[in-house]
Symmetry: C3
């Protein structure tokens, strides 16, 4: 099986998961979230946690659980002119229940549309303030005649719990790499079923590998309150996280963006920027800012966990963001597969970035007599030999393989292959972790 | 009264002071300097110092005092062809007295003009070498026929004193911010009546404010020898200066230039560059060099006082510099007002750049329940909320408000407002000075 | 004699040496190498070392000595169609002896040409694998008819020794500056008779100077194995090398390139980049990479000797590189003279970069009364006065003359002249080495 075919397979696997999860009405609590974690759990075993409503978590409190059966706006003729069954985006997420008749005038303040994108339904939430509302296309809004409407949101807000799921792959040490994805958005594909799918496929791939240095933790939790709850429930464990990433919007066709940690030059920052720089795909690196996804929480001053963010389309910066335009056609198996490859390479760097020492540091060792060097002197040498010379020169105990790859402007894979070869020939020994 | 009107008032106030000071023949000593300090003293109370001729000051000596009553060159018909009463620039500043008849040929080496700017009178000095001379327009020079001239400079060079004035506004600490302006140039508006006027208006503005952290020192002294004399007379006090600025050429229409301290990244450097970067006005930042104005003396290796320089037109780099072209038309109330605003903002940063600590550092505090966050989740947040998130994230005891503003690329004012709000809600406490 | 004439003289002297050395068939061992060192030794006294075959040197072993009398390929008519006597490049350097008749088909794998440069003979070596071969122009290769050929390489590979030569000019300290040139290439002018010639002329020039701070070591050795042998034989001495340069390709008309040490910001890096930046000649600075010339060995992790590389044409990056196109017409006296000037200036910086202390650090000393400052105040000052102000301001014990020159963006020569003048007037004292 060729690498390309494999990648296609992974791409199809991810897209299929996005398709399966797309119809579910998720929120930061409730049965849609549980159903989602159940589907993920059929691919990677999940440990599910339920944290009860009212529990204090850091500066926050776990909210009441929200569930919804149905919602609609019916016109005077009893026709559903806005119908939750057609799209769960039609209801402002976390709407309190309502069932009454009212004039369009009274209803109007509860309606949200996008005048600039008249065919798309916006996505709106009201988690922490009791409110209700409907989202609809601007065309729908324009077509509503004056008159009386029957408005119904058949939801419940009640004592329950907040749910999150974790999958852990043990490593040689209990130091961890965290892959965190928010899993609370309803029918939006790129944000963030794409992140979920890439995370799941990485977990499946890594489960097949041996000799993992770091423990891998995959967290699937609602945005903000989910990360806050996890941090509150796992204060000690959080100290073991050495590197982390939030994954968002990884199925669209935008170039990659890596958003740095607040530290700005931590190992995950160096790994991600190097992988993107040597991958050949277009990408940009942006500085941390305290907005976006759950990297905000991990990077807060009390925790300062080195969590960066990998994305394609950027939070709030593409038209489909938080609208019904973020649908199944907006993401593709090919882009998911590309994102998977980049993520896998970043984690590979973190797992394998070790420091070696040149055992023959005085001058260059004679590679030729070890069969590691072309015999006939000409003008240039192959890339692997150049990588070996870099590894030999910089393996002075102060440079890790990633340091060497960055300085040599060679891929981490090339440097690692060179190091493996030199270890086999006794020219390099592992010095530190 | 609107801010714009206020600013206009300040601009007019400054321009009026420039107009009042313009006709006076100043030098590094003498009655013109005293008269100038007297006029300043009617706006801000000045402590005047007289340091006697011959006193050793650092490596220098206070020179003889120079005063001048009149000067002229008369042609054969007894007409004043060059007349000190028309412009005090006509006399080389610090000229020794002379009164004799001489041929044009003998007079010629004492005449200075600007062939490239035939309508302007140059400004020349000879403080430390006994000499005399006249400056005149190139057109005047060309029109002088051969023949005999009566040459008179009715000046005195005698034991006297060097004068400077200071205005001090006490602060919470006796650590100081120094605003230093040279006040020795005769009828030149931009260099440096503009600097004097901006300094005076700042002193008046700050006198109306309460709760000043740093003591403010406003020094009005002749260039070079004045700063040297002040430093010699105030060795201990100089150690208390934490930040400083020399002000020059602040009334012209050039973009702003900030010249760094020799340290290059001191607090005044960071404050000035940040204010200029976020002010919306065109500006450039240049590195320190040991030439220009009195920042040379403050930054000398024995003192190393962090004094930068704020200017519009740059020392020696615009045609009007040190010529009669630097007149009342070359400066304007509007530009002076703009300079005043920048200076006030820089000093405001220095006075208010404190370090706070987030009292709820684990995750983001829930701003929503404190009324500090918009209720309905959408795609972006207002600037003040963003500023609050920055302040919360970086208030880890290691970042001051200015550090945060720089990293966030937000104005210091926005960050300070956010910090004030967070302090009010108990989310932030002052940690250090 | 004007400076220009002197430079012309040096250029002619260097070109003459290149001409004299050009015909000799050099290699990494053997009589051609000895003859070359003999010719150099008539210009600068050389200490010659012979290191016997089989001796272990670092990770390597001194190889058998190679000598060659003659070599040819004769066609069926007995005519030499490839003739060592016409160009020593025709034989793969270090070829084992061969003398037999063979078909073109059997001979063909031993023939090397440059299809892209059909008139040039390539230069090939096989030092560490027993092989033989001929290099010829592609036109020659094309013109060989099928048939039988007499192939002869009259060489010997036998126990002998590896030869290198050194010239040492003692300094005040036994800390050293190393000028290292590889001297093993046969008839190639730019690579590296140019480097040899520039090194020799520098040694002659410096021998005429007094008061040298650092001991100068000029090493003429075969590439790679020569540097390795020297390092193996001089382990203790190597620790005394503070700064060094390899010289290569200094006679062609490419812009200068300076290749940094692995440290990247050592004194030689700062000296070379500053001299090139202020010299007015086009140049580029490139980062270290572990390939090229003997800087590879000096910068290896066991030694980490700060050796950069000065060149014009870059290793492997110009068409004439390692071909017969690198002939006497490819280099010129003028370019050699220019290279000599740059090298001399770099060494001059290293020899004279000292740290002084301002004896009058409080404010600027009054230069005027010492005759060091123009008397009449105008708008600008001459360069030497500006250099004096820079030296005074930064001579705080933390900045060397080179640090000052770099910050001031003035030539080292200007800063040094200013410092000399200030020392004469007692305003500066030597503080450290």
């Amino acid at each position: 099986m060729t690498a390309l075919t494999e990648e296609n397979d992974v791409g199809r696997e991810m897209y299929a998961l996005v398709e399966e999860l797309y119809p579910i009405c998720r929120s930061i609590t409730g049965n849609g979230l549980r159903e989602t974690l159940g589907i993920i759990g059929r691919r990677v075993p999940l440990e599910i946690r339920e944290v009860p409503t009212g529990k204090a978590v850091l500066d926050w409190t776990v909210p009441r659980e929200w569930n919804i059966q149905d919602a609609f706006i019916k016109n005077a003729r009893g026709e559903r002119v806005v119908d939750f069954r057609a799209s769960n985006l039609h209801v402002v997420n976390y709407s309190i229940p309502v069932h009454e008749r009212m004039s369009l005038e009274k209803l109007r303040p509860h309606l949200y549309s996008l005048p600039d994108r008249p065919n798309w339904i916006p996505y709106r939430t009201s988690y922490y303030e009791d409110a209700w509302g409907f989202c609809l296309t601007d065309e729908q809004l324009d077509s509503l005649p004056q008159g009386e409407y029957e408005v119904c949101i058949d939801s419940t807000l009640a004592t329950g719990s907040l749910t999150y799921g974790e999958h852990v792959l043990p490593g040689e040490t209990d130091d961890e790499i965290l892959i965190s994805t928010h899993v609370c958005h309803p029918s939006l594909c790129d944000d963030n079923l794409s992140g979920v799918a890439v995370s799941v496929s990485l977990a499946r791939e890594l489960a097949r590998q041996k000799d993992r240095r770091y423990t891998m933790r995959f967290l699937y939790a609602p945005g903000t309150i989910g990360a806050i709850t996890w941090l509150a429930e796992n204060r000690e464990r959080a100290k073991k996280i050495r590197h982390g990433l939030t994954l968002t919007c990884l199925g669209d066709s935008h170039p990659f963006t890596y958003k740095r940690t607040v530290g700005g030059d931590t190992a995950i920052d160096r790994a991600a920027t190097h992988v993107l720089a040597t991958s050949g795909v277009p990408s940009q690196i942006i500085d941390f800012f305290p907005y976006g996804y759950d990297e905000r929480q991990y990077n807060s001053p009390g925790f300062r966990i080195a969590v960066g963010s990998l994305m394609r389309g950027r939070h709030g910066e593409f038209p489909e963001y938080h609208t019904s335009g973020d649908d199944l056609a907006f993401v593709s198996a090919a882009r998911l597969a590309e994102s998977f490859g980049i993520l896998r390479d970043i984690v590979d760097v973190l797992q394998n970035d070790r420091t070696f020492e040149n055992t023959s540091p005085f001058g260059e060792p004679q590679l030729g007599r070890r069969g590691l060097y072309r015999a006939l002197g000409g003008t240039s040498i192959p890339g692997l030999q150049f990588a070996m010379l870099w590894v030999l020169n910089l393996s002075d105990g102060e440079h890790s393989l990633l340091d060497i790859a960055r300085r040599a402007k060679l891929s981490f894979g090339a440097i690692r292959t060179a190091a493996d070869l030199l270890v086999q020939h006794g020219l390099l020994v592992l010095r530190g972790p």
